[in-house]
C-alpha cells in the first residue's frame, strides 16, 4: 500500500524530501515548544496545553507529544502538515528534546511530521492524473489535465513549492473530502478551482510514497 502525491510545479521535490523519514527516523530541523499553554479567564479552563510522555521502543527512548496547532503554526509555519484547530500529534527521539532558555523544546521535521520512509517517480500503482482525452498519465500539464476526473482519484498529498496539503482521513465518512495543513482545511471543490487557475504550462507529476509501517500516534 502506497500513498500517492501530486508534485505541482517547480521546487516541489524538496518539499517531499522534507516529508520523508529515511529508515523511519525523521530529520529534526525545527524547534517547537513543549511547554505551550494559553491561560484564559481564571475561572475558565486554559484554552490549550501541550502534552507529552516518554516510551521505550526497540531499545530507544522516544517522546510522544500533542502540541496545540497555534504553537505549531508559530514555530513551524503555516505549511506544517497538521490538521488545524486542535492538538497535533507527533513523536521524536528523546535526544531531540532539550530545555532551551528555560523552556522544554522538541526538534521536529520541517513540516512537523513525515508521511513515509521513501518516495519515487517509479509507478507503484495506477496513474492518477487523467488527461482531457481520458488517458491516465504519470505527468501532464494543467492545460491537458481533466481536473475533476483526476481529483476523483483522491491523491493523498498535494505538494507545491510552498508546502504540502494532505487528504483528510477517510474514516470521517460523513464529511466531504478536504485537504489540510496548518493554514486550514480546503474542500476538494476549492482545490479543483485552484488547479484550474494555475498557469496552463505548470507541470504536475505523480509520485508514490512508502508510508511508515505503523502509525505511532493516535
Amino acid at each position: 500500500m502506497f500513498l500517492t502525491a501530486w508534485l505541482i510545479g517547480d521546487g516541489s521535490e524538496s518539499v517531499l524530501d522534507g516529508l520523508t523519514a529515511e529508515g523511519g527516523y525523521p530529520t529534526a530541523e525545527v524547534w517547537v515548544s513543549l511547554d505551550s499553554i494559553r491561560a484564559g479567564h481564571v475561572s475558565r479552563l486554559p484554552t490549550h496545553r501541550s502534552a507529552w510522555a516518554t516510551r521505550t521502543a526497540n531499545g530507544q527512548e522516544w517522546v510522544d507529544f500533542a502540541i496545540p496547532a497555534q504553537t505549531v503554526i508559530h514555530d513551524v509555519g503555516r505549511h506544517a502538515l497538521i490538521d488545524p484547530g486542535t492538538l497535533a500529534y507527533g513523536c521524536a527521539l528523546a535526544t531531540n528534546i532539550e530545555e532551551r532558555d528555560g523552556a522544554l523544546m522538541v526538534k521536529v521535521p520541517r513540516y512537523f511530521t513525515t508521511v513515509g520512509t521513501a518516495w519515487t517517480y517509479q509507478p507503484l500503482g495506477p496513474e492518477s492524473l487523467i488527461t482531457m482525452c481520458g488517458q491516465p498519465r504519470v505527468w501532464t500539464t494543467v492545460k491537458h489535465l481533466n481536473v475533476r476526473a483526476s481529483m476523483s482519484r483522491h491523491p493523498d498529498l498535494l505538494i507545491e513549492a510552498c508546502g504540502p496539503r494532505r487528504l483528510s482521513p477517510r474514516s470521517e465518512s460523513h464529511r466531504p473530502d478536504y485537504y489540510y495543513n496548518a493554514a486550514g482545511r480546503t474542500p476538494q471543490s476549492s482545490i479543483e478551482r485552484e488547479l484550474g487557475l494555475l498557469h496552463p504550462n505548470t507541470v504536475i507529476r505523480c509520485a508514490w510514497i512508502t508510508p511508515h509501517s505503523t502509525e505511532v500516534w493516535l
Binding site: 479552563l45 484554552t47 510522555a53 516518554t54 496545540p68 484547530g85 486542535t86 466531504p176
Partner: protein, 239 residues
C-alpha cells in the same frame, strides 16, 4: 464496524453500555485533566465552536483531552482499552469538563474506548455459544475451540471488564486471545458465557428496542459513581 464478543459472567448491562456509544459517548468516570510526572504530562485543547467551513459536520465534542497512557492505565485500571502509544487522546463534550473540588476534570467512558454504537444478543440465527446448547452456555460446558473458530470474537469481556480487544485484526492475535481467555476458563463452571454482537445502530433489529429502553443508557450520574476517585497528585507510575 460489526464484531462479536464473548462475555463471561453475570449479565452486566452497565458494563456493556460503557463499551458502546449510541447517543454520544458514555460519560462514566471523572478523570483529572491536569496531571504531570517526570515521564509525562496531560494536555488539552478547547476546540473553537466553528473551527472550519464544515462546522455543520463536526462532532459536538468541545475539548480534546490527552493523558499519558501509564496514568490512564493506573487510574482506570487494567481493563481500560488503551493503545500502545505513550499518549491517549479523546474528545470530551464541553459539559463533561468541569472544575470539581478545585481541579479540572473530564468525564470519559469507563474503559476509555468504546467499541461500537450498540450491543445486542439472543438472535436465533447464530446465538449458540455451544455445540449443543442454544442462546448461551456456561464455562463448564463451552466448546471453546469450536466457538472461537465459529465466531472469531474480537472482544473478550470478563466479569470485571474487557480483557482482549483487537479491532484491526491485522496481525495473528489468536495466541494473545487464548492467553486472555485462559483465566476466565478457571471461573466457576456454572459461570454464564454469552455471545454478544456489537455494531452500528442502523441494523433494523427489534431487540434493539429493549436496548434503548435500558435505564443505564441515560447515563444518570447517580448510576455510576466510581468507588473512589484518586487525585492526580497520587499518580505514581513506578508504584
Amino acid at each position: 464496524m460489526n464484531l462479536d464478543g464473548f462475555v463471561f459472567g453475570p449479565e452486566d448491562r452497565r458494563m456493556l453500555a460503557s463499551l458502546t456509544h449510541s447517543e454520544g459517548v458514555p460519560a462514566d468516570v471523572w478523570v483529572p485533566l491536569d496531571v504531570h510526572h517526570a515521564s509525562g504530562r496531560s494536555g488539552w485543547h478547547v476546540v473553537p465552536r466553528h473551527p472550519s467551513p464544515f462546522a455543520a459536520f463536526e462532532d459536538k465534542s468541545d475539548v480534546h483531552c490527552v493523558w499519558p497512557t501509564p496514568f490512564l492505565r493506573w487510574y482506570l485500571g487494567r481493563h481500560a482499552l488503551l493503545p500502545d502509544a505513550a499518549l491517549c487522546g479523546r474528545d470530551v463534550t464541553r459539559r463533561y469538563v468541569k472544575k470539581r473540588e478545585g481541579i479540572w476534570q473530564a468525564k470519559i467512558p469507563r474503559f476509555f474506548t468504546t467499541v461500537a454504537e450498540v450491543w445486542w444478543s439472543d438472535f436465533g440465527f447464530h446465538s449458540s455459544l455451544s455445540t449443543d446448547v442454544a442462546e448461551r452456555t456456561q464455562v463448564g460446558r463451552i466448546d471453546l475451540v469450536a466457538n472461537l473458530a465459529k465466531y472469531n470474537p474480537l472482544l473478550i469481556v470478563g466479569p470485571n471488564g474487557p480483557v482482549f480487544y483487537e479491532p484491526g485484526a491485522e496481525e495473528d492475535f489468536t495466541s494473545r486471545r487464548r492467553a486472555a481467555i485462559e483465566p476466565l476458563m478457571r471461573l466457576p463452571p456454572r459461570t454464564p458465557v454469552r455471545l454478544i454482537h456489537f455494531g452500528e445502530r442502523d441494523n433494523d433489529y427489534s431487540a434493539l428496542d429493549e436496548w434503548y429502553a435500558d435505564p443505564y443508557r441515560r447515563h444518570d450520574d447517580s448510576l455510576w459513581p466510581p468507588a473512589s476517585e484518586p487525585m492526580a497528585r497520587d499518580w505514581n507510575p513506578g508504584g
